[in-house]
């Protein structure tokens, strides 16, 4: 038997933030998800609440960006270059977060930037989730040769350095938002596959699956109706972490000049543009970097919380 090692992605070691006794470990993730207890447990989990609130705020900001952004994020004004943010000397309420090297309003760019990050995070997760879950479920359910082949594919994928492959593909194909989403979506499925594989292995011999098989249910029916609902909790948890991962990677790619291209207000790209003013105007990199940090933090807190609430058996 071959084991696949997932670097830095172990699911154990999660500090228990809720009371483990409140969740009976014998029940399934499905039961927990639909459980009337779910809202109660969620409301007791403060990190989860904090993460959710920040995320909802950023989501709202992205949705109503045209209504709240004070300026057009693309309109330049050479007369208003490098206006400092409000908390520094010379800051004005006209530009609460200042303006960049081309005189574009920084607050408006940060607001519109949330759209890019969320778009990339969402579509990457949908794409990689589909690939990874399919591979993982097939490997876990059928085992044997199928498992061996899929293990080999996972291993090969893990061996390719993500950032280098993504950079190379973008350099070759040319960079646009769509290319970045596709590249990340086609690369970040490994954790979905690994976790889904072991989750399916755990449930495939449960009594309800065996009885469905004995009743003569077809394999697709069993996978969709009996297996999927029971691994849904783990799926949601990985999806949050992969979303955070995709957002960080897009920021890094854009920062290196091979991701989202100017003049789009990608947060990573804004940090790269701010590098030219590092010495005298470091806030130009602080603000968009902090925005990335906040969004990723919110998603991770929510993911950690969901793991505690939905899958207590994964905790130490």
């Amino acid at each position: 038997m071959t084991t696949v090692n997932v670097p830095g992605r172990e699911t154990s070691g999660q500090p228990a933030a809720t009371d483990p006794a409140s969740a009976p470990s014998g029940s399934t993730a499905r039961a927990r998800w639909r459980d009337r207890d779910f809202p109660r447990r969620a409301l007791k989990h403060s990190a989860f609440l904090v993460g959710c609130s920040i995320l909802v705020l950023i989501l709202l900001m992205a949705l109503i960006a045209p209504l709240i952004a004070p300026y057009d994020p693309y309109s330049q004004s050479m007369a208003n270059r490098l206006v400092p943010p409000i908390w520094m000397d010379g800051g004005t309420w006209d530009h609460p977060l200042g303006t960049d090297g081309l005189g574009r309003d920084y607050l408006s760019r940060v607001i519109y930037g949330s759209r890019i990050s969320l778009l990339i995070g969402t579509f990457t997760v949908v794409c990689s989730g589909l690939i990874g879950t399919t591979l993982g479920v097939l490997a876990g359910y059928f085992g044997g040769r199928v498992d061996l082949v899929i293990n080999f594919i996972i291993m090969t994928r893990l061996t390719l350095p993500v950032i280098m492959v993504a950079l190379a593909v973008v350099a070759i194909v040319g960079s646009s938002l769509t290319v970045v989403i596709l590249v990340l979506g086609l690369l970040l499925w490994d954790r979905f596959a690994v976790v889904m594989r072991s989750a399916v292995m755990q449930v495939r011999n449960q009594e309800y699956v065996q009885s469905a098989r004995a009743l003569g249910c077809s394999t697709p029916y069993i996978i969709v109706r009996e297996i999927m609902p029971n691994i849904f909790g783990s799926l949601v948890v990985i999806a949050t972490f992969e979303m955070a991962n995709a957002i960080l990677l897009e920021a890094a790619l854009s920062f290196l000049g091979l991701g989202v291209q100017p003049p789009l207000p990608s947060w990573g790209l804004m940090v790269a543009e701010g590098r030219n003013y590092l010495l005298f105007d470091p806030w130009l990199i602080m603000i968009p970097g902090f925005a990335i940090f906040l969004l990723v933090l919110a998603i991770n807190l929510m993911g950690d919380g969901l793991r505690d609430i939905l899958t207590p058996e994964n905790r130490n």
């Binding site: 172990e10 390719l160 350099a171 940090v271 990199i285 990335i292 940090f293 991770n300």
Partner: protein, 304 residues
């Protein structure tokens, strides 16, 4: 154990071969490098001549086998831009990357081991929460941004350390902190989880009941048993740092393999990119192999 090892080795070899094929295929589709080098002024005849000179006119299968044969002998061809062999180019840059990775590893271990152990020993106290916050922040911070903040604070404002370059050992401190912190959270969490598990076992209770001192129980009995999965994960994280060094070396202008990779990718210097990708893959898979063997040594159940 021998059977297990040889099976793992065969798999690793096969994976490396596949990776080389994928990278080769990916990079041969990289459009017309030749006309890019030749420039806009070049005539079609000149381009054809240059193509022949660079050996790019044959079918890709022929070129792949040729490349593979040469690569096995350590010959990765010539850089398209530096007019230097790829092997020399990489060998010159490798010491910087290894120094960065080594120092980052030191940063990572000196953060994650003590914090993870303390958090396990005093769960749900302020130490535990501090360790958890450090881990959560480290996971959310883009590493290039953290690197730039370190640069602004410690190099540009305080002037304690040089902002960029790779001339002296001092140049490596800030990048090592940025890269080391980035790799810390998983190792710290695993240390904590492993220690909590071990501290709950019977033999630790026995050791405590015998009246052994806390430090003796912690270091002599608990750490020894909790550390092996951590060592295995550390090996894998070391491999991840090689990838992370692309970003950090670019931020700090360190003349290492990661920076070379970025430069070569932006210029589509195909032979260099190809060589670096396959070398990173080999390094990574070797480290995974090491970690698997360590895990197997720990858990005889895997060996079967």
């Amino acid at each position: 154990m021998i059977g297990y090892l040889s099976q793992r080795l065969a798999l690793a070899f096969l994976v490396c071969l596949t990776v080389s094929l994928i990278t080769f295929f990916l990079l041969t589709s990289s459009g017309d490098v030749v006309s890019a080098i030749a420039g806009e002024e070049a005539t079609p005849e000149q381009i054809a001549a240059l193509r022949r000179e660079l050996g790019l006119d044959a079918h890709w299968t022929v070129r792949y086998l040729e490349w593979l044969g040469n690569a096995l002998r350590g010959d990765f061809g010539n850089s398209l831009f530096f007019r230097e062999t790829v092997a020399d180019l990489i060998m010159h840059r490798l010491p910087n990357t290894l120094q960065l990775a080594g120092m980052s590893l030191a940063v990572m271990l000196s953060l994650s081991l003590p914090l993870g152990m303390l958090a396990a020993f005093r769960p749900n106290t302020w130490v535990d929460r501090l360790a958890l916050s450090i881990a959560v922040m480290g996971q959310a911070m883009p590493n290039f941004w953290f690197g730039l903040i370190l640069m602004v604070v410690f190099a540009l404002n305080l002037g304690w350390l040089p902002p960029s370059g790779s001339g002296t050992n001092w140049h490596f401190i800030l990048p090592a902190i940025a890269l080391g912190y980035y790799a810390t959270p998983p190792v710290m969490r695993l240390t904590r989880a492993g220690m909590i598990e071990v501290l709950g076992t019977d033999y630790i209770r026995t050791a405590r009941a015998k009246g052994l001192s806390t430090t003796r129980v912690l270091f002599k009995h608990a750490l020894r048993n909790a550390i092996i999965p951590v060592v295995a994960l550390t090996a894998v994280q070391f491999g991840n740092m090689l990838g992370g060094s692309v970003v950090i070396e670019t931020v700090f202008g360190i003349q290492g393999v990661g920076y070379l990779a970025w430069e070569s990718i932006t210029r589509l210097d195909v032979p260099v990119v190809q060589a670096i990708m396959i070398l990173v893959a080999i390094a990574y898979i070797t480290l995974v192999l090491v970690s698997d063997v360590l895990n197997a040594w720990l858990d005889p159940k895997i060996r079967k």
